[in-house]
Symmetry: C2
Subunit: 456 residues, 2 copies
């Protein structure tokens, strides 16, 4: 399809192209615009009929949208049409991506009533439900019959973002209930809307955090949720497709934080290299500065290492075991918190589970560590006469370090959350760094206890 379009574009066969366009569905047209290279995309986009253009624009990825807006800058009339035709929530999303002065210029192209809508939506705080919502919905009254409602929908429903859910309001436009269209369709035409109402309706506030919208959708099984202001007046709706995007972005943010870097906010490939490095460098440097304490800690034990170089050989093994077990625990708890399986109140139950887990995991690794030293001693005889004490030092340190890593990893998300932070900040590398320093202290303390008078 793309290559066919490209051929027609190259041959400037605009007539054939226009005919082709009428045959294709919007989603396919959007794919074509997205995949065509510049400036073919703009030429093709200009060929679209007015309202198709607005639909196709909504489906295009943000970078493409911005490129199209830029390319249309010299065609004021076309640009004005496009902006006025866009759904209010998609227009807000577009404006959020553009620099302030450009948004101002584009706002001036809007018709008065669209301008009011756009200004209102942009007036809500960033990351708030107000920014996500659209004022295009269908509202009906309780005293109407089903037949009235269907007639009303047929006349006024065209601009509504969804007809899957219909909203019942009172004479002051306060939200009374939301009805799934199935309830309306299945009822007899003479029945009254008021008879269908169950008086129970989940609504969002304009000022709610967008994360609340994500959770609310997950819990309620609805494809759209009403948004009310503080006095209960219905001001808009949020549809599930917009929330899906928010949910995916949130997961990406969580994963990036767990991986120990700042949130990119853009796709990996679209992030400028300099930004990419900067976002990683800050955390990496912070971790590095923390990790420098390991050099200081090891400095304290320099005399011991000089006397028993063998001690140094197990340092990477021991501290990495603490880091790995901590990273496992942190990941488990962060995710369980994100999906709401665990709340702050569960900290003590989690701690009990993790003490058991940490001891068990530590015991497994401790035994393997002990056996490793014993076997190598048997095979190569490299650890000398005091090898049982070396093996014991390694084994016991592993139990201590793994227990400590598991506890730190599982409790740090609780601690960060109780301070009002995002638990995902207690990333795997953060926990590992924390555990490395303490791991060294545990290891050399056990060594001092078991080996003094022998090797030390």
């Amino acid at each position: 399809m793309i290559s066919e379009i490209e051929t027609l574009l190259a041959a400037r066969e605009f007539h054939a192209l226009r005919r082709k366009i009428t045959e294709l569905p919007v989603s396919l047209l959007a794919d074509i615009v997205s995949e065509l290279p510049s400036p073919d995309d703009v030429i093709f986009f200009r060929l679209l009929p007015r309202h198709t253009a607005a639909d196709v624009f909504e489906y295009a990825p943000p970078e493409k949208q911005q490129a199209l807006i830029q390319a249309l800058a010299s065609h004021q009339r076309r640009l004005a049409e496009l902006l006025n035709d866009l759904a209010p929530d998609d227009r807000t999303a577009l404006f959020e991506e553009l620099p302030g002065p450009i948004v101002q210029r584009l706002m001036n192209l809007l018709a008065p009533e669209e301008k009011t809508i756009a200004a209102t939506l942009l007036g809500y705080p960033e990351e708030s439900v107000g920014r996500l919502m659209t004022p295009d919905y269908v509202a009906i009254r309780g005293e109407w019959t089903i037949a009235d409602a269907l007639r009303h929908i047929r006349c006024y429903g065209r601009d509504s973002e969804t007809l899957n859910i219909i909203y019942v309001v009172d004479e002051k436009w306060r939200l009374v209930d939301d009805l799934r269209i199935r309830e309306v369709l299945l009822a007899s035409p003479e029945a009254r809307i008021a008879d269908l109402i169950d008086g129970h309706c989940d609504a969002l506030l304009t000022t709610d955090d967008q994360e609340r919208a994500v959770r609310c959708f997950a819990e309620t099984d609805r494809v759209a949720l009403p948004v009310v202001d503080s006095s209960g007046i219905l001001v808009g709706i949020v549809t599930v497709d917009d929330v899906l995007d928010v949910a995916e972005e949130e997961v990406t943010e969580d994963i990036q934080k767990i991986g120990g870097l700042e949130v990119l906010h853009e796709p990996y490939m679209d992030t400028p290299l300099f930004t990419l490095v900067k976002k990683r460098a800050r955390w990496l440097t912070a971790l590095f500065l923390g990790e420098m304490l390991t050099a200081t800690a090891m400095g304290y034990f320099e005399a011991e290492i000089a006397r028993a170089v063998v001690l140094a050989l197990f340092v990477p093994l021991i501290i990495s075991s603490g880091g790995n077990s901590g990273s496992q625990a942190a990941t488990l708890i962060i995710r369980a918190m994100a999906v709401g399986e665990i709340t702050l109140a569960d900290w003590w139950r989690v701690m009990r589970r993790e003490i058991f887990s940490g001891l068990s995991l530590g015991a497994v690794l401790g035994v393997i560590g002990f056996v490793r030293v014993a076997v190598w001693q048997e095979l190569f005889g490299i650890y000398g006469e005091h090898w049982p004490f070396i093996a014991l030092t390694v084994g016991l340190s592993l139990i201590g370090v793994v227990l400590w890593g598991t506890l730190s990893g599982s409790m740090l998300p609780f601690f960060i959350r109780s301070l009002g932070g995002d638990p995902a900040t207690s990333s795997a590398p953060f926990v590992a760094t924390l555990v490395d320093v303490t791991g060294l202290v545990i290891y050399f303390s056990v060594a001092a206890l078991l080996l003094s008078g022998r090797l030390l």
Copy 2:
């Protein structure tokens, strides 16, 4: 609400309870059943009218569903009613969680036609779209008018899982198109269905992987997708709420793999402690065995360490920097692959970006590392006359180790994926372990080069 219900239950006020139940919406009833302790939950559940019971059951979490099934085992008739009333896709989900013999016993309680449906759905492979779908949808014919269609929906739509999307089939029940209900509602009652059809319709195959369904929903903006068999016959639909659950589970699996443990498949708190430890122990042990190579690697350099103990002090700092930068890179790439921003074909473009990132990040840490040694030398004079060479060793090793960590972390997901594995397996701890061993070799090689004849 809960406490009120508990009081009524305790007082055995069943009459008052039944009245109360008729006033409450299903979602709230489901919350009550979920939160009531055993055996109050079962008593309360039994009080629900037949069809409400099935709805409430669908909303309850899987553990609660299983507990209810178990408690109803002695009430064959009630259990049979419940199972027959459940939506087919929810019944499949329930059966998937139960042991085989129990599923067999429950299947025998189903009415003949429900049994056929259940057996068919369970016949599809695990993780396939067939397991997610429901055969309850509304199909209409192209030659009908809108008024015909609305009448048909009113008569036969009650059992349909959704009325937001209606399916158009031909005389052989082959899928022709899907229509959003808005298109039907907005058209004039005399118009023909055939006039609304655009001939373009995304459909899933029964054998498709459930992940394909997740991606398809994200791309198409639909709240339900049709499922066809290999000859194009419409056999069921999948609704977005079921897919949201699949998507959330997938993300949890990805995050757990990135965290370096086996996928739990159950909520953290519900996972038996022994299973929890086992799932973590296997990866932890594998990583530990890999990490043992560090002890071997350091053994090779034992003589150097003995001559210059100062070298050992920087070991944790240097290898952890490699691990952290690798964990950042792996996390970025795994997530970008999961959301489809990056495909296998992009490996070379990613590699170029990561070589640049790795060198830049390495340079930043390298300079800090150099300065750290210089400043400590100035303050405490602990590194002796050859300090500039020690500082240079630390700085250059950091550049090498960070570059290597970044490259390993970013390329490992590509490598695993090209072998047909899940890129999320290249977890942060896995990359860190890989980088630790090579990091040591890089460090001691640089040291041998710069310090031999001086400290070594």
